[in-house]
């Protein structure tokens, strides 16, 4: 699989709410290989979501450029990327449409893009849902399902668009740790079947090391890579690696860097509150 390489090149983002300019992302450069799971780790509010929004095309950037497979998404002369089905986002608290059934939600993308008829899209949706162990929920509304199931549905909905990149914004944040571990294995299982590039934002280091081939630890606002780590534990992985010595070593290597940023973020939060 060759498609789905992202290059973030010297990106700066300044927010300007009412004249007070806030530097959210500061000269951030990051290369993500096609088909790679790249985990972005940083404390809450550090600016990682800003980066994701820029890739998705929800927000503009101030300077720098972002490329997808060599094509510029946004950059000089084009501050905001156009949102598109090649880069689909899975949101923090989920964004399944509550007024559509699960099947309608999953079939939504291809119908919107005019790629498939309703019938074909729904057939494909049933197929992919069966693959992900979600059969039987087709006729439900999202509100009737547990948040873990909803999150899996949402990933399937994203994959229905045949994206090159999956942008995940702390998708498992609201889940309890047991559900989370199930979700991680389910995500990897989906990933092994559809090798898309995964840009995964989290503040959970263990999650990052478990899933990622590479982990980028970001500085707190302004956001920029502080440390980029290759997780040299081969895929496919399962939960037994959590206790493997190499996993513990990587954890030890990174935990200080993350903790340092968390402290900074905490102090900054206190200052803002004062």
């Amino acid at each position: 699989m060759s498609a789905g390489a992202i290059r973030i090149e010297d990106v700066v983002k300044v927010y300007d709410p009412g004249g007070a300019s806030i530097l959210a992302v500061d000269h951030c450069t990051l290369d993500i290989a096609a088909g790679e799971i790249c985990m972005i780790v940083g404390p809450s509010g550090c600016g990682k979501t800003t980066l994701l929004n820029a890739i998705a095309g929800f927000h503009s950037i101030t300077s720098g450029a972002i490329y997808l497979d060599g094509e510029m998404l946004c950059g000089p002369g084009k501050p905001q990327a156009a949102p598109g089905p090649d880069r689909v986002v899975v949101f923090q608290n989920g964004a399944l449409f509550p007024w559509k059934t699960i099947l309608e939600n999953v079939a939504f993308g291809p119908i919107m893009q005019g790629r498939l008829s309703r019938k074909d899209a729904e057939d494909k949706a049933r197929h992919m849902m069966a693959d992900a162990g979600l059969s039987g929920t087709e006729a439900n509304y999202p509100g009737e399902l547990s948040s873990g199931v909803r999150r899996r549905v949402e990933i399937v909905r994203a994959l229905m668009n045949d994206p090159k990149v999956l942008l995940l914004d702390e998708p498992y944040r609201a889940l309890d740790s047991l559900t989370k571990s199930v979700m991680h294995e389910a995500l990897l299982e989906i990933y092994y079947k559809n090798r898309v590039t995964i840009f995964f934002i989290t503040h959970d280091l263990e999650e990052a090391l478990f899933l990622g081939q590479r982990v980028a630890i970001m500085t707190t606002r302004p956001c920029r890579p502080k440390k980029i780590l290759d997780v040299d534990i081969p895929h496919p992985r399962n939960y037994s690696i959590l206790t493997a010595p190499r996993f513990r070593e990587l954890m030890e290597e990174t935990v200080d860097a993350v903790h340092e940023e968390a402290l900074k973020a905490f102090a900054a939060g206190e200052k803002e509150g004062a």
Binding site: G57, V89, W99, G143
Partner: protein, 268 residues
Amino acid sequence: MTRALSRSILRGTIAMIVFLLLWELGSRSKAWLGFPLPWISAIPAPSSVIVVWGALLHDSGYWQSCYLSVLRVMAGFFAAMIVGIPFGLALAINRTAYGVLFPTFEVLRPIPPLAWVPLSIIFWPTQELSITFVTFLGAFFTMVLNVIGGAKSIDVRYFQAARSMGSSSFDIFRRIILPGVLPSIAVGAAVGMGITWNVVVAAEMISGGASQATGAGGGLGFFIWNSYVGGSYPQIVVGMISIGIAGYLSSELLRALGDRVTPWLRRR
């Protein structure tokens, strides 16, 4: 489930019977206490109301009054829906429209519909139209506010998700905004219907009924006022309860309709 339901129906029925019983005793307090209880003894007893009501059921004038009020409520209500929903959507979607129209809307909104009655009588060629117009106003403002509020409270992530999955602006309007405001429309309709009944009765009292010559046929508001003027007190209560029942039925109807169009909320 059904047990809880039958239990709550039983409770409601018992409460209603107790209420009627206390009322009956209160209104007849002079007969059994020797002196009238204050306030309550001036109100016609339920038994006398029922007798008068029974007689009225054969009176075409009573039915004519009910019919006229229902007609005005329906006309005003549906006009408010037909005008209010698109108007609210336009204000919610279009920033320019919002900037131009919303301030005027907000100045007109606090004016009670009844304050419009005189102007409405001057402006509209027939009395029927002026009553319907005032009724319309009652539901219109509520409807518009609900639609705007509903549209604005749609989570931005739904728009972002729809956009990144390739939806056009029209798709977003049809598949995100419209279903997204439906629950608010249902609420607005239920509230608006209640206001409509309030307004229609008052407007009928003020404007004095459609055919002054016969003294009948002016709607339930006029029916109540006319009963008061004519000194038929049980008939006042009949008019009031008729409005209560009509209001209850229309609210239930709207609730059922609202549940139907928002199945994702009902099943939860």
